[in-house]
């Protein structure tokens, strides 16, 4: 499928994409498991599958253009550099970055988040996080947006604070002025939760952070794959996301940062092309983004991410968002009819993404997941690298189904039917 994904409405749901055409792009979706059962892949929040267009871009890169990037004067080095830097242009356009130089390639969102935490620990004033200052996160963060801040707090003596959650699975911002204070240096929060699905309100948090002069980092790992992203309208200082959840390869992440900040902040990892000049006793650094890209970068992976961005853009992020809204609405309704099923997170489709966590009676999520798997249905079970959320809701773990542009109403039906079977099995 190269162009035009006509909206289908066979199921009667408005806004669905032509998944029949789209699914042809994803070779793995043809797979069967457990002796011939068709794969129903509902683990997209953990990682998405890859379209042929991305795999072709990878193969073409390695078969025709590979060399190390930068500073080469031969054809392959020039082609590889053009492809790598071209991927940066594509990503910059995808998130509406004011400048391509604001796009730093990392290995995953976790590195992007750690990069910011470490830069702030090493920075000069006014950015420096040290004792007497505060870091603010939320109780619904992924471990990758908790642990770096715990480590930074331990190393610097700064205080780690967080926003709690309401019973409905939303951020409790009622005491925002006490949480974000004049001592706050950085507020880092998730745009869409990978457990609850909650889409968080950016504006209120950014406004308060700006009031007190704190920087804002947004973890868009579960947002960038699913909706139009505009870093300028978000008004954050940094945005992090990861390639493998948005049809791209593993091994590539992105950190977007405002140019002045990237210029002012110190480098983190050293080596390779991040320098301007090196003597044994001292070095000066290249301008951003290269300052933050030590060593041979994930070249092929950036090229693959560029192809993923092209693929998503050709379909249209607005249309992908609409598709997922329709599927999520349908799934929420279908699941609510499964006896004993309790959704952890918002139960209606407003301000939420296509990730639904739930418990099923007192059947342990591992058992739910395993019995679903035997029917070919792939969901994730556990704490989804966000254990504090489970603690908050007093449950050891959840079962999580998460949808993407290729998910169909029939897959939602398979999930609901599968859950009924699970209930019977352990009933």
């Amino acid at each position: 499928m190269t162009e035009g994904h006509p909206v289908s409405d066979v199921s009667g749901l408005p806004g669905l994409l032509d998944t029949e055409a789209i699914r042809k792009d994803f070779p793995i979706l043809d797979r069967t498991v457990h002796e011939g059962r068709p794969l129903v892949y509902l683990d997209n929040a953990a990682s998405s599958q890859k379209p042929r267009q991305v795999l072709d871009a990878l193969a073409d890169y390695y078969e025709r253009h590979h060399a190390n990037v930068h500073r080469g004067v031969h054809v392959l080095a020039e082609e590889a550099t053009a492809l790598y830097e071209g991927a940066r242009d594509k990503v910059a356009a995808f998130i509406n970055a004011p400048s391509r130089d604001e796009v730093v390639f990392t290995k995953n969102a976790s590195e992007s988040l750690n990069l910011v935490a470490n830069m702030l620990g090493l920075a000069d004033e006014p950015y420096r996080v040290d004792s007497g200052t505060e870091i603010v996160i939320t109780e619904m963060e992924h471990h990758s947006n908790i642990v770096p801040w715990q480590l930074l707090a331990q190393r610097t003596g700064a205080k780690l604070k967080w926003f709690g959650l309401t019973d409905e699975g939303r951020l409790d911002l009622s005491r925002i002025d006490e949480v974000i204070t004049e001592r706050t240096k950085i507020v880092s929060f998730v745009l869409v939760s990978n457990v609850l699905g909650t889409h968080n309100p950016v504006e209120a948090i950014v406004r308060r952070a700006q009031e007190v002069g704190a920087l804002v980092l947004i973890d868009a790992s579960q947002a960038a794959p699913h909706m139009p992203m505009d870093v300028q309208s978000l008004q954050a200082d940094f945005v992090a996301f990861t390639g493998h959840k948005m049809c791209g390869p593993t091994g590539i992440g992105v950190l977007w940062g405002r140019q002045e900040l990237l210029e002012d902040l110190p480098p983190f990892l050293g080596g390779g092309e991040m320098i301007e000049t090196v003597t044994m006793s001292s070095s000066t650094y290249a301008p951003a983004p290269h300052k933050f890209e030590a060593g041979t970068p994930p070249i092929a992976q950036a090229v693959g991410l560029g192809a993923a961005v092209d693929y998503l853009t050709a379909i249209g992020m607005e249309r992908i968002a609409a598709h997922e809204r329709a599927i999520t609405g349908y799934a929420l309704e279908r699941l609510s009819r499964v006896e004993g099923l309790r959704i952890i997170g918002p139960v209606t489709p407003e301000d939420r993404g296509a990730t639904i966590s739930f418990t099923l009676g007192d059947i342990h999520p591992h058992d739910v997941g395993q019995v679903l798997d035997e029917q070919g249905i792939a969901v994730r079970v556990g704490h989804h690298c966000a254990r504090p959320v489970c603690l908050r809701y007093g449950i050891p773990a959840t079962t999580r189904a998460s949808f993407y542009l290729y998910s169909t109403p029939a897959e939602v039906d398979a999930l609901a039917d599968g859950l009924e079977y699970v209930r019977g099995f352990f009933g």
């Binding site: 059947i363 342990h364 591992h366 058992d367 395993q370 556990g382 050891p396 773990a397 099995f425 352990f426």
Partner: protein, 151 residues
């Protein structure tokens, strides 16, 4: 993997609940959050009771029930041999098909052979067994347990 025997133990666990003991341990499987609190009571080297309470999946719950059924009233060396055999079976990645001798020794526990094919679940099946060994070492000293191991 969900043998009838496993489901039975899950739905009707043997010896569930905490009773008096010589030592208590609390084990957690951090990867999935399964937890068990387990107590052992010894009468010399005879296992007088294994009592437990926990939360977790059917595999970890059923496995604790099977453990209780298998080990209570045994002498330590024999119990350790059962534990060792069960461990071996679980770590076999589906490569061991239990023979008659093993079936006789492990009884209901052979039903877990299928679980060994699922690396993510092996730890669930072993949780109570690791807890029991730990509690035993606390109750009787490492030495008794180690002596048992060599036998």
């Amino acid at each position: 993997m969900y043998q009838e025997v496993i489901l039975d133990h899950y739905k009707n666990p043997h010896g569930h609940g905490l009773r008096a003991g010589d030592a208590e341990v609390h084990h957690v499987n951090p990867t999935c959050g399964d937890e068990i609190t387990l107590r052992v009571r010894y009468d010399g080297e005879r296992i007088a009771d294994v009592s437990y309470e926990g939360q977790g999946c059917s595999i970890s719950q059923a496995s604790a029930s099977v453990l209780n059924e298998l080990l209570v009233d045994r002498e330590l060396p024999e119990a350790l041999e059962i534990q060792r055999t069960f461990l071996e079976l679980m770590q076999s990645r589906g490569q061991i098909t239990p023979d008659d001798a093993m079936e006789e020794l492990l009884q209901d526990a052979v039903a877990f052979a299928g679980v060994s094919k699922y690396p993510a679940r092996v730890k669930c099946a072993l949780l109570s067994w690791m807890a029991w060994k730990d509690a035993t070492a606390q109750a009787l000293g490492d030495e008794a347990t180690a002596r048992g191991e060599q036998s």
